[in-house]
Symmetry: none
DNA sequence: CACTATCAACCTGTATGAAAGGTTAAATTT
DNA sequence: AAATTTAACCTTTCATACAGGTTGATAGTG
């Protein structure tokens, strides 16, 4: 038995608009007809059209700009979209950490070769901020400075794809990380590795950089494993 | 990485609803208040609420059912979404390859420890298929057998998050890979490394596995670099 | 009594007109 | 010529009305 789910009008309209785009060969910054025109052309109401457009917008196909109109977005050939539920936070964090180690480890490797003087100066600045906030017991701000340090590291690696994937993983990881675990002790453990990591990058020492990063991740991992749910 | 864009009301409402869900600790199949209630509670119009709900629906957080109500979906908390556009195919492929090396390298490492007998048997089967198709000059089918071999490898690594991200990268990579480059010579170069990789996994030899994988990727990389655009 | 058809209450889906902004370029003023 | 106002054309949001799906109570029928 096939379950033919009853589609909403807006979804069908979204498909029609997609077809229209393909038929008219619209690309890049081209503009779609105004809402009133589409409404009458498709024989639908404004709310339906709006939902259809928003659906396409959420798929990065369109961009609806107030006062201007709706425009075709650059077709993004690379697209990750994953959602799944986490039944066991601890195991999920360990999995996510493995992914983070893989990606960020590569970022470290690339940064050793590609980091410019400016990149290093930026990382140095964030690290200084980080240490200051730690000493002032400003956990929240220290947290953000740490994030900026890592962000600068990814940018030094000069690989956009790598950066964008790490960003997503980082966001998710920290969303879970900050909730169930106290990260206070992590700071103190991982701080020296931040310093030695930056030094290794500065000296273009691949092995030392990998080693510092490895130790940094070990301390995070052991913290997760210590946690009993 | 702050992009302060002017948010639409519906987006802000979506955030409020997300907060509401968290605050009220709603999970799984719980029902959200009816539209009319939310409208008056949030002080917004129907269309705005609808857009907010649809936004959350497109993120797999909600499900709006005609006649019944809107319900929290069970697949919730982890959500990764990345879009990326390509300006230079060759550089993109090299960047994507770095990402693939990072992720798949980690998968190899995990697979060495975690692969079951069954995992190994499946990989063996796909590898055999792969070799047969190569010898029969069936490039297309060999390609698919190769993909299945790698897919089996990721599953042996037993890390859902890792697998889902690799899948996306792999898809994208091959979508570009098959177009501009002839991959015929790659097959012959990388085939022996597939064999030695599987053997190393079978013998739980981390170093040998990493080495085989490394060489496999080197041959891909040199092929990309040889390509003059 | 058991079974079925109907209805009422509550829900989402869609349409529509009006009002409130945003954007741009032409028209008007300085 | 430069600055300002206006007008045309957009999207955004609201309020209201009605159509249509879902469910359980209710009334009717054998």
């Amino acid at each position: 038995m096939k379950t033919v789910k009853k589609k909403r009008l807006s979804e069908m309209v979204a498909d029609e608009i997609k077809q229209y785009i393909k038929k008219e060969n619209l690309t890049s910054g081209d503009r779609l007809p105004a809402a009133t025109e589409l409404m009458s052309a498709l024989g639908i109401g404004r709310s339906t059209l709006r939902e259809a457009l928003q659906l396409l917008e959420s798929q990065d196909i369109l961009e609806v700009l107030n006062g201007k109109g709706t425009f075709i977005k650059d077709a993004k050939p690379f697209y990750i979209r994953t959602a799944f539920d986490v039944e066991n936070e601890k195991n999920f964090l360990l999995d996510a950490l493995d992914v983070r180690i893989a990606l960020e480890g590569k970022a470290v490797d690339l940064a050793v070769h590609k980091a410019t003087e400016k990149d290093i100066a930026i990382m140095q600045q964030h690290l200084t901020d980080y240490v200051r906030y730690i000493n002032e017991s400003k956990r929240e701000q220290a947290n953000r400075a740490d994030a900026r340090f890592h962000q600068a590291l990814y940018e030094a690696a000069d690989n956009q794809l790598l950066t964008s994937i790490i960003d997503s993983v980082w966001d998710t990881f920290h969303q879970f990380w900050n909730e169930p675990f106290g990260q206070d002790d992590i700071f103190d453990q991982s701080y020296p590795f931040h310093v030695s990591l930056l030094e290794a990058i500065q000296q273009r020492d691949t092995v030392a950089a990998a080693d510092s990063f490895q130790k940094m991740m070990e301390s995070v991992k052991s913290s997760i494993e210590k946690y009993q749910e």
